[in-house]
Subunit: 570 residues, 2 copies
């Protein structure tokens, strides 16, 4: 693909857990002109930790601003070097995705509290990163109160309010550090803060808040008038009830401009003044957009954990699907419910195994070496079966108090067999989620994968195809989140300036699928169809309250399948 | 201890899986004067394997004879060097223990068939080592027939006839290699063959057969007239029925002389002519003797697998205890039932983990390094729980078709925590066996451990004490099997020649306990008493047909115990 003389560009900004990425995209064809990453400077790999409290994870919002400046300038410079026809003056829009829920306490001007001298080194005055779990007690409290008084609040978020979410964190701050809480005029999600800064309008009551963040993490829903009722929040703490008035009552989808790029930031970044900056959204949701999500397309963003995203027209009836992380109108595409599910650990399990458990060194124990050896095994040949719960179960059990399980070891079990069993466990977990969607009538016909593991490990993709029984496609872009943001930028810019009127039009032009796809091997799929009920037996036995049955056959059935596979071998 | 001028000696010969050990012992005080080992020369570490058949494990009986000659001569030479007062002429008896069931097909003279040219390289004409499982189909067949027609045959051996045992192997030979079967005048256990050779009387009908081998592995019991009925064996195969007449009808305990050392072998070995050679027995059973077994003393021989041995007066009533490997009158001590139980893998599980699964090298991943790190954990602190079934379950489930299980892994789980969980799993398995004995009224008041792991790993012993809630003692001798054989030699020699009239008298003089014992830590024992029901839940859920219940709490209970332990830490 060539860059046309009159090509227009959009800039996607993807704020991850450890770094920010900028990506410059050709709006006409999705060509990725240049990209750059900047690592956050504060803490360990950008995260402020507390050796006395493993639940704590914060970030310095200053890192976001330093990082985005560096990443954008670097991207533009690279673009210039790569293609002289690329001119920053033809950038028509900016889109932003971030982690979340990552709320920041701010003053009346929207300035993060840790920018003030008195709170400079106070982690409670910084961004409360998504993976901060200090509010686990508060999360349980919110869940109980909602279950009793407003079960509808939980029905859209899997039945459990998480410690990773907005109000758990704020309520915890209120209790753990009332000084910070009292100093906060409001709290803004990271994905709301960045567009606010870039447009120069950071006053909390002026910020256009993200539907995606509000709906998935703050129980925002127009059905019950936006945020949870004031008296509900007040029952948790009167001050939390009072805070509701200083939060927001409207939310916006990512096709809407949050505002225009301020002169100050246009100058800093070397971009045209006044171009639209889209309302922010979460990384997984815009990642799904960048993967081409639309009805019938099921996007799996596979990284350390996994997000599964699909959409459903908001004018068609949709049940509350138990166990999903969230069902939010407009969180992915305007006009559609965004449905989010996920696995608490996927790549993290493989990394844990490779880094800590398996035997030594890159030659024997790397992902590459283990993958190569694991690929030689047939399904069932090892007799192993694992549960993928080393970090709890997000969907469909919504239970952090679950742990891993490995079954079927003999004295002959070798490390690569365990590695393969762990991959298979995550595939069975993925299948369990897809089945849940399908039970509720959601079409998951086409599965599109993206993220590091989908890119790098064909064995994982093949096992997913064989286990799930569907062709696994992989998104063309290696950074679908940043691409999704760039698409939001192009839609926020609109047709008249060379962008698009809708996400659908933008995706049609800018998204794609890699040529190489992974089709299920019918023989392997058949065996996995025999193993899955065994996985499901363990899943239900350890993960559900009302299960009853016998596990007596599990080890024996696995051995019988193994023996059959070994015999077929000859 | 000094060797008295007039000291008498006994020689113990211990035929293990890979080598034979000779041990010269002072009959007066059990002092171990000298010992030597000779590795078998044929096959891999003395075992003939078949790359096409993982079930096959054979030995060349010639190795036994070469090995015993070398080991005895070496021992006597070492003894001479160590103490000039030690004179081989004062050796009064020889005792023998071997692995088993390890039957050898022999001709009418008692010569192993592979000593004949035509069968020289035929593994079926050699010794069928205990761990040969080629007869697994035949074992199942024998079990079914016995269950239907003679359930009493199985009642004394845990309800299942094993592929490791006498008739499974012979029936398999009959089918797989009828030429060898037809050429065999009889079959003799290794522990019968060695005394026969040393006494010069190898004719099958003249050999004094071991009660221990016959009772534990060949369903021999005087209650039903010795070996299983001819028509029973004939139903399995007419030729097997016919073979019964060429086997034996009498069996003997290890206090009885099988005969006197032949002139030929006295000359070869440098020992006095005509000294008594005791009837043979299995290694574990004489190991228990060497550990000082008597009523109320429960001996655990802990190696790659574990044998648990205790005794019960044969004039007191004793129920058939379900799940035990064997209950045989006189198999350990004359006048007592010998009760045998065991765990299919203990050291083998630790070795598997260290050799294959854990991360690299002696510094990080040796038994020593892992033990050191694992010792720092409190019970329950890791949140892990394992089943010790990597090689099936011998007692109390008697089920080879069971496999390992590890539960409770998180992303923070480290290798030493898994190592500790595996140790704990074997401790829970040991406790399950002890509980079974106690349920049937067997006194297990005093636990005496022996074998490599009991000798070398204090953490294992401490965890066993904490889990089982009893003091763990360790036998004084590092080679209790060979010592037990030497004791048998001293009893076979009798009082008049300077030996003993009974095993009890010999043990009183020749056995001992190490000073260092392992007492349960009450706090740890209390926690393990909370974990054991969780182990038992998994044990029963996966190991028994009729279990029903909920496993929902298992992971959560472990996390709760972990959290409690972590809090107590502060």
């Amino acid at each position: 693909m060539m860059t046309k003389q009159k090509a227009k560009f959009s800039l996607g900004l993807d704020f991850g857990t450890n770094s920010v990425r900028a990506l410059l995209v050709d709006v006409g064809n999705g060509r990725e002109i240049a990209t750059a990453i900047h690592n956050y400077g504060t803490g360990q790999a950008g995260i402020i930790l507390d050796s006395h409290n493993p639940n704590l994870a914060r970030q310095n919002p200053g890192d976001y601003l330093t990082g985005l400046t560096a990443a954008v300038k670097d991207t533009l410079a690279k673009a210039k070097r790569a293609d002289k026809k690329v001119d920053p003056s033809r950038v028509i829009g900016i889109g932003i995705d971030t982690t979340g829920s990552t709320p920041i306490p701010v003053d009346a001007n929207g300035t993060p509290l840790n920018f003030h001298k008195e709170f400079k080194k106070n982690p409670n005055a910084m961004a409360w990163l998504w993976k901060d779990h200090t509010g686990h007690t508060e999360a349980a409290e919110i869940t109980v109160l909602a279950a009793n008084e407003h079960p509808e609040y939980l029905a859209k978020c899997g039945g459990t309010y998480s410690s990773e979410w907005f109000f758990s964190k704020i309520l915890h701050c209120l209790r753990a550090d009332p000084k910070v809480f009292d100093a906060a005029a409001s709290w803004v999600e990271c994905c709301d803060y960045i567009p606010a800064v870039l447009t120069g309008e950071t006053r909390p009551d002026k910020i256009l808040r993200s539907r995606c963040a509000a709906g998935h993490k703050a129980m925002f829903n127009n059905n019950w008038g936006g945020l949870p009722a004031k008296d509900f929040l007040a029952k948790l703490h009167p001050k939390l009830g009072a805070l509701r008035d200083r939060l927001y009552s409207e939310t916006y989808t990512a096709d809407i401009p949050a505002g225009k790029l301020s002169n100050e930031w246009a100058g800093k970044l070397g971009l045209p003044k006044g171009i639209p900056v889209a309302v922010g959204a979460f990384d997984a949701h815009l990642g799904a957009v960048g993967s081409g999500v639309s009805p019938g397309k099921f996007v799996k963003i596979i990284g350390t954990s996994t997000c599964d995203i699909c959409v459903w027209p908001n004018d068609r009836p949709l049940a509350d699907i138990p166990g999903l992380c969230g069902i939010v109108d407009g969180s992915v595409l305007p006009g559609y419910f965004g449905l989010e599910a996920g696995q608490s650990a996927v790549g993290d399990i493989f990394n844990w195994y490779v880094e800590y458990i398996q035997p030594g060194g890159p030659a024997k124990g790397s992902h590459e070496a283990l993958t190569k050896k694991a690929a030689k095994f047939k399904p069932a040949q090892s007799g192993l079966l694992a549960l993928d719960w080393n970090n709890g179960n997000r969907t469909i059990l919504v239970d952090q108090r679950l742990t891993g399980l490995l079954l079927g070891q003999t004295l002959h079990t070798r490390p690569e067999e365990i590695y393969r069993a762990l991959i298979e466990a995550t595939a069975f977990g993925a299948l369990t989620i897809i089945k849940r969607f399908e039970e509720y009538g959601i079409d998951t016909q086409e599965v599109i994968n993206c993220g590091g593991i989908a890119e790098k490990n064909p064995l994982v993709m093949q096992i997913y195809a064989d286990v799930i029984g569907k062709e696994m496609k992989v998104a063309r872009s290696a950074q679908t989140c940043a691409l999704g943001s760039a698409i939001a930028g192009a839609v926020a810019a609109g047709k008249d300036t060379g962008g698009y009127g809708t996400f659908g039009q933008a995706q049609a032009a800018m998204c794609g699928i890699k040529k190489k796809t992974f089709k299920p091997d019918p023989k392997n799929h058949k065996i996995y169809q025999e193993i899955y009920p065994l996985y499901r037996k363990l899943h239900d036995a350890f993960g559900t309250k009302d299960w009853s049955g016998s596990l007596y056959s599990v080890m024996k059935d696995l051995l019988a399948l193994r023996d059959r596979q070994l015999t077929t071998d000859k």
